[in-house]
């Protein structure tokens, strides 16, 4: 097949067209203030393509902030379960390779001892259209965890910028191929590749730590005083975990009244003070640094034990969103240094 290109106008047209169909959910980049967010699109959404990276990740499309998992009604004949709304097909446009590469990671978790049908069903029905990175900042470190600015993992279609207003499309999966075929009328822009694009290459993001060393250090240094230093600034909000593409903790809550009720799966976060509070009143992670240690250890040690992979894609979102100045890259570099020095 000939090479396929799409420009800003056609992309807007295509997404606008897709949102008209109420049977699918469409997510895309929307500007708010100085920042861009991946949001669920409606007819009035104002799309924006000139962004470096969105504040939030595409996680929200597949793992909603809240989602009903059980609904019931009570009447004089007893309890009746109600049907849950069917999982709609999704199109997610505008994530970065560091977003998309989280999906195979998350799939391992939600396909583990318990099969999370909601997540898996969405994953089956989703089309991930990723835009390869064209910029980077001091918080990016995808190459250190096996990614790259043009990494194809997890994507169905990868768009690579060829000029200031358009991209070249590449189908990665079977789903992606079909999507390009079905929407070929939008992927037919006549673009001439300009010089200077793409602006960054893999070598621009140097590998700055060795995740194997980090795992070993974490295993041996649970009580290290360094943790206190790493988490010193942390104020225990959940901003870092909620923007993270791989953080996946959730809480189950019931909302019931006399005759009906709904059980909901909600986002939760290990950084929040009440996450580990026991009914007895005891909290094993009562201090903010202990909770921050959990976050890092989970990503760089425990997850590897379970699924053989680091649960971090190096997007740097947590550092960007943290106004208390906790920077994950600084911490990982420091651990790497300590591990090299200590030899443990």
């Amino acid at each position: 097949m000939a090479e396929q290109y799409i420009d800003y106008d056609k992309a807007k047209e295509m997404l606008g067209n897709l949102t008209k169909n109420s049977e699918i959910e469409v997510f895309g980049p929307v500007k708010k203030g100085n920042d861009t967010f991946i949001s669920k699109l409606n007819q009035n959404s104002e799309l924006s393509f000139d962004y470096f990276i969105t504040v939030n990740s595409i996680k929200e499309a597949l793992l909603p902030r809240f989602e009903p998992i059980l609904k019931y009604r009570i009447n004089h004949n007893g309890v009746t379960l109600e049907d849950l709304p069917p999982v709609k097909p999704l199109v997610v446009f505008g994530g970065r390779p560091c977003d998309a590469s989280s999906l195979p990671l998350m799939k391992k978790l939600f396909n583990w001892d318990f099969k999370d049908e909601f997540y898996l069903e969405r994953l089956k029905k989703v089309i991930i259209i990723t835009i390869a990175c064209d910029e980077m900042d001091e918080n990016c470190f995808c190459t250190s965890v096996g990614g790259s600015p043009r990494n194809e993992t997890g994507s169905d279609v990868l768009l690579e910028r060829v000029c200031s207003t358009g991209w070249k499309a590449k189908a990665i999966s079977e789903k992606g191929k079909n999507f390009l075929k079905e929407n070929s009328n939008f992927f037919n822009a006549k673009l001439t590749p300009e010089k200077g694009y793409p602006k960054i290459a893999e070598k621009d993001i140097p590998v700055v730590f060795d995740s194997k060393k980090i795992k070993t250090w974490i295993e041996n240094n649970f009580e290290s005083p360094l943790w206190e230093e790493f988490g010193a600034n942390c104020l225990s909000c959940a901003a870092c975990t909620f923007v993270c593409p791989t953080c996946h903790c959730f809480d189950i809550t019931d909302d019931a009244s006399m005759w009906k009720g709904v059980r909901t799966k909600n986002w939760d976060a290990c950084t929040l003070p009440y996450f580990t509070k026991h009914a007895s009143g005891h909290n094993p992670r009562s201090q903010s640094y202990q909770r921050y240690r959990q976050r890092i250890s989970h990503k760089y040690s425990y997850y590897i034990d379970l699924f053989g992979q680091v649960s971090c894609t190096g997007c740097g979102r947590c550092s960007r969103v943290c106004e208390a100045g906790v920077n994950i890259l600084d911490i990982l570099k420091r651990i790497d240094k300590e591990a090299t020095k200590g030899g443990k």
Binding site: R65, C237, S286, A324
Partner: protein, 284 residues
């Protein structure tokens, strides 16, 4: 800056304080909190117009509260938070050492212009401190000036429906990360109302209903207390203009109770007291 570093070293060296909370550089045009116990680390301290964080919020953290004495670098606006905490018996004055910084203005979070809160600042010179660092600065407005916020005035031109739609749109984006709560120097409850589940006052789902309830309770619990540091709005990862609510309640407190929070630690906070002649036009 030299004076600040020298003072910090002295305090830590003489073991006058266990911990010092100040600012360090976080790259060009950025600063972030610095918590130090070792006098050698004091060289990292900086103070400039990018020092936005209100460090007073750290004084509420349980592990820091447990220390015997803590020094904190604070601008006039931050000190207002200390004053409120003192008047609510949340801090022991003897246990904190306030390094007051004179400050003309800080920059907006994106670093491009003067922060909006500085245009009506009345405390460019710290009003409660153990030591003041920096040359005195002329106050731009007097203590008596009644502050009127342009953004509120603008907002109040909207009709009821417009306001409702505005907040419905904004609040539906709240992801309930509670960054606004955690960063607020005045949100010190050991257990927040939203963390109670028996009874569950506030829906923990981040659907519009839960988000409305949460943001109503957050704003209301700060009414007559908010000191306008703007931290909640700055840290909000969804860019929700939370200060619109806080500022309008500040204006209400000024109009109805002639009250501005954070100036006098001895004064009785407005919602713990009353006057017989309080407004009751709205009561039938």
């Amino acid at each position: 800056m030299k004076e600040l570093i020298a003072k910090a070293k002295e305090l830590l060296m003489n073991k006058e304080v266990d911990l010092l909370i100040g600012y360090q550089s976080a790259g060009e045009k950025k600063a972030k909190p610095l918590l130090i116990k070792n006098p050698d680390d004091a060289d990292k301290l900086v103070f400039n117009e990018y020092c936005l964080s209100n460090l007073v919020t750290y004084l509420n953290r349980p592990d820091i509260k447990a220390l015997s004495k803590v020094a904190v670098v604070a601008k006039g606006c931050d000190i207002r938070a200390i004053v409120v905490l003192l008047s609510e018996n949340q801090l022991v004055r003897e246990k904190i050492f306030i390094i007051g910084m004179t400050c003309d203005h800080v920059m907006s979070p994106d670093g491009t212009e003067e922060n909006i809160k500085c245009s009506y600042c009345k405390v460019r010179n710290p009003h409660l401190a153990d030591v003041v660092i920096g040359a005195p600065i002329d106050e731009r407005i007097s203590k008596e000036t009644v502050v009127r916020h342009e953004d509120i005035e603008e907002f109040n031109k909207k009709t009821k429906e417009e306001k409702w739609n505005f907040w419905k749109e904004e609040l539906s984006q709240c992801i309930r990360c509670y960054a606004c709560r955690q960063v607020c120097p005045l949100c010190y409850c050991e257990r927040c109302i939203v963390d109670f589940n028996n009874p569950q006052w506030i829906d923990t789902r981040s659907n519009p209903r839960g988000n409305f309830a949460w943001n109503i309770v957050r704003a209301l619990h700060l009414s007559g207390r908010c000191i306008d540091c703007g931290e909640c709005e700055r840290v909000c990862p969804a860019n929700i203009p939370l200060m619109l609510l806080n500022r309008s309640l500040q204006e209400e407190a000024k109009d109805k109770f002639d009250w501005e929070a954070g100036f006098d630690p001895e004064a009785q906070p407005p919602l713990t007291t009353f006057r017989k002649e309080d407004d009751e036009e709205f009561i039938r």
